[in-house]
Symmetry: C2
Subunit: 157 residues, 2 copies
């Protein structure tokens, strides 16, 4: 499968988050071309500040492999990881991270936290932006809907 296909696979989990009124972000972990784990944003549903799609996918992959070292594993995620999630990828020794949309406000790389390239840390890995319109569009639609809801609430007051 190509990166595009894996990103579209991650997008299915973003869509799942959307049905639960979460910010729609989805992630999968791939090893040897096979999807071994997935996650979607569950912050609101679970009231868990660490409930990002990447964190769930990483923890589930570790369970699947019975190892905290996710050797030769790749993370595909619809949105650029935040500093917590990119650092979790470093902790898990991931081989590669591919994301389909940039996060100018909260993304680790956009903010300058290049944890993946830090030679002072014990593991480095690739983090690649592969623009995928559907990954950004689902977020634009979500936030546009949120803004409209707020406007409607305000005008109803």
């Amino acid at each position: 499968m190509s990166s595009k296909k894996f990103l579209l696979e991650a997008l299915k989990h973003a869509t799942d988050a959307l049905t639960r009124d979460e910010v729609p972000v989805g992630a999968i972990i791939v090893k040897d071309g096979i999807v071994i784990a997935y996650g979607s944003n569950t912050r609101e549903e679970m009231q868990d500040p660490t409930g990002h799609a990447e964190m769930t996918a990483i923890r589930e992959a570790a369970k699947a492999l019975s190892s905290w070292r996710l050797i030769n594993c790749e993370l595909y995620v619809t949105l650029e990881p935040c500093p917590m999630c990119l650092s979790a990828c470093q902790q898990a020794r991931l081989k590669r991270v591919v994301y389909g949309a940039k996060d100018e406000k909260g993304g680790a790389i956009c903010l300058g936290y290049h944890v993946h390239q830090d030679v002072k840390l014990n593991h480095q890995f690739e983090a690649i932006y592969e623009p995928e319109t559907d990954c950004s569009q689902i977020l634009k639609d979500f936030f546009s809907k949120q803004r409209n809801l707020k406007k409607t609430e305000k005008s109803a007051k």
Copy 2:
């Protein structure tokens, strides 16, 4: 309770990690002077790359408060948080982080990831180093024992 007393409370959980042969790190979350959650390192036992003491304490505190926003909460941790954990504190909107030992190799602040002071992010907080000999000593003893074990293994070969 003073910071010292809370750090010594966190140290109890580091000692608990030690009994399970984990790197001895412990953490507690305090709100209005009351300990509402705790965590200790469970990375090896649970084979969870995100199983740091701080992450568990944060997730347990969110459960206790039924909210991912840990408003007016403080984290006391025996060792300086790594970039993942300091960023998780930012995600959880913690008010303050106090740590009892520096981590020159893996600590977020030592490595220059000042996530807690980043004005580009939507929440800032204090991260304070309060040197507590027992918090660093437990780690020194652990790693010294590990090194001796490796030496013994080598000489037995």
